[in-house]
């Protein structure tokens, strides 16, 4: 394989993993932007979506139908989460909200263990998500391409939504200044509901792609991705959608890069490096690489 081909191969890998992180990070950032809530339970929506799809597929649904239902179910789960757990604690200290989302994670994962069991199950991805094709010396799995393309399409739609529609602009306004947004007559509850629904739907899409990529689902599958998405959001400057997207791709490239350069044994430590970078970013640019400098010094 030539150097160029190697590069293209790695580029595809980085873009596809970065796409998933970006999809996840968007939801975290939308909610954080408005509520200052770090929604740890966001990762569990991946699990909700992929189990929904799994059961529909087992019942013989066509994949596309199952996927759409799964994403809608994830969105509804996100809305329910907000209504039941986060609305009552809105405006509480940041840490109290963060801990609440921890508890929501515990509830969701244990409910999953109770209902579907703790063991992982194979995810019956359709052929267009599970074939590997070769282009010259390149081997590309179709799920990576689908992930990149799907994410690109969703990003275009999302950009249109937040820049052109009343609700989208309201969402950005509310993220910037909640009080001023209220004074305009923006219905905050509605905007927050939209943020949860859209973010959760995107998490659902990410969950399906993840399940297809890994080939299996389990109740704890969202744990590692949400931590990564969370780093992505911090890298991009928590609370903005473009930041989350950029952060997602930066993290994707970083991981593939680390995997490439870390010698043999030590590549297992990749995640330690990645989380070390999180701490570094927090220190050097607490508002992310895109964020404005407004560091809160102690």
């Amino acid at each position: 394989m030539s150097f160029f081909e190697y590069g293209v191969q790695q580029l595809i890998n980085a873009l596809s993993i970065g796409s998933l992180y970006a999809l996840m990070a968007i939801g975290l950032a939308m909610v954080f932007g408005i509520l200052r809530l770090i929604n740890f339970a966001h990762g569990d929506l991946m699990m909700v979506a992929s189990y929904t799809a799994l059961f529909l597929l087992i019942d013989g649904f066509p994949f596309l139908g199952a996927a759409i239902v799964a994403v809608v179910v994830a969105a509804i789960a996100g809305l329910a989460m907000e209504r039941v757990a986060y609305r009552p604690i809105r405006g509480a200290p940041d840490v109290a909200m963060l801990l609440t989302s921890f508890a929501v994670t515990i509830v969701l994962e244990n409910v999953a263990v109770l209902t579907v069991g703790a063991r992982s199950r194979a995810f019956p991805a359709p052929p267009f998500l599970s074939t590997v094709f070769t282009l010259g010396n390149l081997t590309v799995s179709s799920v990576n391409v689908v992930a990149i393309v799907t994410t690109a399409i969703l990003l275009v739609l999302l950009t249109f939504f937040v820049r052109r529609t009343d609700t989208g602009i309201s969402m950005r306004a509310a993220a910037e200044d909640l009080v001023a947004a209220q004074l305009m007559g923006i219905n905050i509850n509605r905007v927050i509901a939209y943020a949860f629904a859209i973010g959760s739907g995107l998490a659902g899409v990410a969950g399906l792609l993840w399940a297809a990529k890994v080939g299996k689902v389990d109740p704890f599958m969202g744990f590692s991705p949400v931590l990564k998405a969370f780093i992505a959001a911090v890298i991009g400057g928590f609370g903005t959608i473009p930041g989350a997207v950029v952060g997602g791709y930066v993290l994707g490239f970083l991981e593939i890069f680390l995997q490439g350069i870390l010698p043999g044994q030590s590549s297992a430590y990749r995640d330690a490096f990645v989380f070390g970078i999180l701490i570094l970013v927090l220190l050097i640019r607490p508002n992310g690489i895109l964020g404005v400098q407004e560091r809160e010094e102690i």
Partner: protein, 362 residues
């Protein structure tokens, strides 16, 4: 939350013997209960009693940091892991070392320490790591500290899983000598409570409380926020490491999975239930959560309610604990004690009883 400090003292100042009595009563009670449990109770009750003592150390030392500085650490279980692994490696008998950890470097392969020095080294190792990461991390504010310490926890886990020569990786670490007894546990629990108490009452403790209320005000009176946070972090990490060591020598076989999210959440639940910033709250939070989760865990296996047979629902106890936790955050965010302390000294002051009864007459 510090209205207990500023509230006018309605009763006479306690005399020295009253103060001693206030401290001695719970100690005596503890001694009697422990002796009783040791002598008369089932192995199960003895086990719960030891776990409770360990949890008290973990919660009180976490509270020493979180409660007094007002910033939140989600990474303390990482210190617990360090304490557990360090002291387990140091005390592992040489012949077991040769079998379980064949790739250990020579200097470690040929030492075998006693329990007490191993605990201390476990705690000190946690402190060293805490001081190393504290310098960057504790500069951050608010929930960024929570985020960064969570990242620390993930890093510790990755290292534990990959440092196979020392930890056997994700496989179970076994062969740890069973040194931990109820006396060791409650001895350290008392040390932890005493230290937390002293830290709270020391000039540094006051500094920490001050900066928790208002950073600008604290800085203006010359409190160095980073330094006071570092102190609290280091001491707290030491005690958490000690708890980890004691835990390891009690459980005997463990893997990195023991030191992750579930354990973190369980300790935080106890902290939040008892109330941040209150040492007696930590004790009460630990007691309530341990007892409640034991009860729930016993019910998980299924039971019959008259005619209705409740099927086994494994995981239900966790769900109920988490719901309880959310409920407390929503309805009583300051926890049961709300940062106040239970002061038993009062019980020995006659005026206190007079005021209690007089209030009842009204």
């Amino acid at each position: 939350m510090d209205d207990s400090l500023s509230r006018p003292v309605s009763v006479a100042q306690p005399t020295t013997w009253q103060r001693y009595a206030g401290v001695a009563t719970p100690l005596l009670l503890l001694l009697l209960v422990t002796l009783y449990i040791q002598g008369a109770s089932s192995a199960y009750i003895q086990r719960v009693w030891i776990i409770l003592g360990l949890d008290i150390i973990l919660v009180a030392s976490l509270n020493l940091f979180n409660g007094f500085t007002g910033v939140f650490s989600l990474g303390h279980v990482g210190f617990m892991a360090i304490g557990a692994y360090v002291s387990a490696i140091l005390t592992l008998p040489l012949e077991k070392k040769a079998i379980n950890l064949p790739d250990l470097p020579a200097w470690l392969a040929h030492i075998q320490l006693g329990f007490f020095p191993a605990i201390l080294i476990g705690g000190l190792a946690a402190t060293l790591v805490a001081l190393a990461i504290g310098r960057p991390v504790l500069r951050l504010s608010g929930h960024y500290v929570a985020v960064a310490t969570l990242a620390f926890l993930v890093i510790v886990r990755v290292i534990l899983i990959n440092a196979t020569p020392y930890t056997r990786g994700s496989r179970t670490f076994s062969g740890t000598p069973a040194y931990t007894t109820v006396w060791w546990v409650y001895g350290w629990a008392l040390v932890t409570i005493y230290v937390a108490w002293r830290v709270l009452r020391s000039p540094y403790g006051r500094a920490m409380l001050a900066q928790r209320e208002d950073r600008a005000a604290a800085r203006s009176v010359g409190v160095r926020v980073l330094r006071s946070r570092m102190w609290a972090f280091g001491i707290s990490a030491f005690l958490t490491g000690v708890a980890g060591a004691l835990w390891g020598h009690y459980i005997l076989s463990f893997s990195p999975n023991a030191f992750y999210f579930a354990e973190t959440f369980s300790i935080i639940t106890m902290l939040v239930v008892g109330g941040m910033g209150s040492i007696s709250g930590s004790v009460i939070g630990a007691i309530l959560v341990v007892l409640l989760s034991e009860v729930l865990r016993n019910l998980e296996g299924g039971f019959s309610l008259g005619v209705v047979q409740i099927p086994p629902l494994y995981g239900m106890s966790q769900i109920l604990m988490a719901i309880l936790f959310i409920g407390i955050l929503i309805f009583r965010r300051e926890g049961l004690l709300g940062g106040r302390e239970i002061d038993l000294t009062k019980l020995f002051v006659v005026d206190y009883w007079r005021s209690v009864f007089r209030r009842k007459e009204v």
